[in-house]
Symmetry: C2
Subunit: 542 residues, 2 copies
């Protein structure tokens, strides 16, 4: 085996018999099959090839973020780009469009899975062909160059260096929106990419309602004595931290026969197939919460992906439905479960056992308050559950201002500081911890980058409330370290469907209503009303 592999690795591009080019011919048409079925088989064959190219691209990205030696970076960028480009070229092939067009009128005679597949492929195809390959190349090259500049500009606190990049990125983002004209609002195409069925106006309505509740809540909490979180700021061994988080994720339902955890600079979750869905985390010796909660967060994404029906694998239906629903699962497992008192009734004794020096004299109450400390802070990714959404809304508002042309790039730092002061009552001392802190705009352009985090928070509470309504025992089970009823409800109602239903349709099916803010507000009021004194009106509704 060693030698065979080696021999293969030294051959490149030759067609000799040692190359492992297996021709995958899925569902080759037989003579007695109806035409629609043949077309479907051909469509599935094409989609599978595209899925394989994209999965390979994801393996390359994972490797780049985990184990790749520094010397590999230059070629790796090009290799990944080649795979993504080939996948894009194959997806916008007019022959694929013709297959879909021929199948669409017969959709009602297909199985439900197949009818959903036709709908989703048609949507993706219609969007993809509006975007010229030349644009994709140009926008990505700009994003790559800008990302590279940002990795230097942020530590140097050098916003000026990013102004020309961000100006170009904003132009390119506007150009993208024009491919989908006419629209109600220039941000609508970005929102539709992330959250099918939502618009700028509907996001704004949700956010306005939420802001009315959150601003006074944060104000009230900030006036009180801050929680003591020094117990989290001791020194913790790396291997022990990783083990503890992964074991908790495994108990929640993350299947390690089909997944694994590795260290990286930026935590993420990635899917290679239904049998291989991986997470990464980072570890800080002096902050127990960082690795632990990012592991639970990414495990939430991964449990969603692992739960998608294996029958949908290799098609555009074979993964989570939207950024917002995806984020609802990471936030549900990280926060609603992982920062709940019940969860730690079971796990805190285990934590004390594992880190006996650090937690010998610490009470569950102290620990619980520490991991739920609310504070007005500068950095979104470090923010608590209550203030987090204000960080998101601030960014969403600035995005709209930039896209609409009301805010010039050079005025962004000042606008950022003003918004932070108004919403959070703190002002960053520099741009590093201000408008340079998030990569999103600098790496991917302006538009649709942030709203999904808050949509995820709202949906997490709504899904959790629906699960509890169906199974009132869930909180008691969690306090016993058992997650199977909750996990089972999520599998049945969300995970297994993949992208079969539109996000709003999925929410309606799972919870009996469209997206609603009330479960989230009730959740925040109950949890933080127990931890802090809240304004009278908010305590009443709890």
């Amino acid at each position: 085996m060693a030698k065979t592999r080696k021999a293969k690795s030294h051959k490149t591009g030759s067609g000799t018999k040692t190359s492992s080019a297996i021709m995958v011919r899925v569902g080759k048409a037989r003579n007695n099959r109806p035409m629609a079925e043949d077309g479907l088989a051909e469509l599935r064959r094409r989609l599978l090839e595209i899925a394989d190219l994209n999965a390979a691209g994801s393996v390359l990205s994972w490797d780049q973020a985990t184990y790749m030696p520094p010397g590999g970076a230059a070629a790796r960028g090009r290799q990944g780009a080649t795979l993504r480009r080939l996948a894009h070229e194959k997806f916008i092939d007019p022959a694929l469009g013709r297959l879909v067009d021929a199948l669409a009128p017969r959709a009602e005679r297909l199985s439900e899975d197949d009818a959903c597949l036709i709908r989703v492929v048609q949507r993706d195809f219609d969007k993809a062909i509006k975007v010229p390959a030349e644009y994709v190349a140009r926008a990505n090259a700009l994003g790559t160059a800008s990302y590279d500049a940002w990795t230097r500009a942020r530590p140097a606190n050098d916003f000026a260096a990013m102004v020309p990049f961000l100006e170009q990125l904003l132009d390119v983002s506007r150009e993208y929106a024009e491919f989908f004209a006419p629209y109600e609002h220039i941000a609508d195409p970005f929102i539709d990419d992330a959250e099918e069925g939502m618009t700028t106006a509907s996001v704004q309505a949700v956010f306005a309602g939420l802001r009315r509740e959150l601003v006074p809540m944060v104000r009230a909490i900030a006036a009180q004595a801050p929680a003591d979180d020094t117990c989290l700021r001791q020194t913790f061994g790396e291997a022990e931290q990783l083990d503890f988080g992964l074991e908790a994720a495994r108990r929640m339902g993350y299947d390690l026969d089909r997944g694994r955890l590795d260290k990286t600079h930026h935590p993420f979750c990635t899917r290679f197939s239904s049998g291989d869905i991986r997470i990464t985390t980072r570890v800080r010796a002096d902050d127990l919460g960082d690795a632990l909660f990012s592991t639970l967060h990414e495990a939430g994404h991964a449990m969603y992906e692992q739960g998608v029906s294996a029958a949908l694998d290799g098609t555009p239906l074979g993964h989570g439905v939207s950024a917002g629903v995806h984020e609802s699962q990471s936030r549900l497992w990280e926060n609603v479960v992982g920062r709940s008192r019940g969860f730690w009734e079971h796990y805190f004794p285990k934590l004390q056992q594992r880190f006996s020096n650090q937690f010998a004299g610490i009470s569950l109450d102290t620990f619980y308050r520490a991991i739920n400390k609310v504070e007005r802070s500068l950095i979104r990714t470090d923010a608590d559950e209550v203030t987090y959404n204000l960080h998101v809304m601030l960014r969403f508002g600035l995005e709209l201002d930039m896209l609409e042309g009301r805010l010039r790039i050079k005025d962004l730092p000042e606008a950022w500081r003003a918004a932070m002061k108004a919403d959070l009552g703190v002002v960053p001392p520099d741009d590093r911890d201000g408008c340079l802190q998030d990569v999103h705009w600098y790496g991917g352009g302006v538009g649709g980058a942030f709203q999904s985090y808050t949509i995820g928070n709202i949906l997490a509470a709504q899904f959790y409330a629906a699960a509890i309504a169906a199974h009132p025992d869930i909180p008691r089970e969690i306090a016993n370290g058992t997650f199977s009823t909750l996990h089972g409800w999520l599998l049945d109602n969300i995970y297994r469907h993949g992208r079969k239903y539109r996000p709003d349709d999925l929410v309606q099916r799972a919870t009996g209503s469209p997206m609603r803010m009330e479960p989230y507000l009730s959740y925040l009021r109950a949890k933080y009303g127990a931890l802090y004194r809240l304004p009278e009106k908010q305590r009443r509704s709890a």
Copy 2:
């Protein structure tokens, strides 16, 4: 970054702006360029895309052998096959053939690198188009199924289960040879794949000469008291073993900014680009030599790949020239250097320091004899330098017998036992340690699988002798733990050229003569004449 990555990983096959499809247009023709240069740029662009696909396939294979969770296997096989198939399809594109045909007559007006590129691409293309895609698919599917069966049949000692597979594989191998008819010998096409310029007859001539020397040498050594290698069979920590081997490889010249070492079941070396060339090893707690020497062996392959001129990267010139020359480098660093007395004059005190409990009372002489213990054994991969080639020749002979139709598959076990008894004087008690031991035939078919190991041994000694002739200080430097002069000579004379020259041309340029057996025989006589009493004639020539 975390969020951007995540968003990407949840999108598949859509053409939205978050996909990272960068269009790579290398050397787009300008109007004022001569036509040959334009054709060359287009050829290079196509070859780079093929190289990217193959490199991605290699990343997938590396991941599969190192970190992939078990659930990923099914999809991973298909994903890798898709990449190899696309690379093959793009390589046999008639448009690529036309580019080469147009450039070939102008080769003398091109740079040396470009002229070599045209020659090699033409050779690879002419071979590749002779092999139908349908055959590649069928042969690989058979190989995959057979490999899978072999992983069960070997531990179960069940040769009967492999008979139908091996019969089909032999048919398929014969079919492959026919694509290259007419030939002198049916094994010639396989030899030509691995060792351009060699034939079955030339390999047979080399092997006959070597066998005449080795058989009496082995007989003489086997009559003497065996070396005591119990010092290698103690208990050694895994991390310490890996560290020690990797540090030695690094000192030899393996650049860890462009490489890394991971654990796997079967050691191998793999190249993703000139900046990312990785090795793997396995570790046995009760056998110090296993991880150590397989690390040095794979590091030899990796140093060769790392030394190929970066300007050749992404083309068929950008890797080692042949299986035999590649093996010469792994065997040179593993054996000629890594099992030399001088090497351990420097490293044994370090080994004693690292493993102080295990080596406190052991002398350098005892250790040196242990790592060079010659014995008649059953398993090729565990064989010492002297008997190793007899294992290879036995397999080569049986391969020819099978291909020529003189040996039926069902008679292979008996033929194996007879050959082992005749050449090595030992007979395997079962097929597990007999004709089932190597994966080569069962995974890849019959033909050209083994001869390169012995060619590598012969060339290793020839290259080393030439390096010493140019720099007589090399042995003294090695005894001081310095390898830069030897490494530099190999870089200049072998590594940097990649596939530019034919293997025989490269050997001639580097050593001033064609491949010769005398340096290897001198090496064996000198080294093993000092360790054992050899027959009078052989001692005289030492």
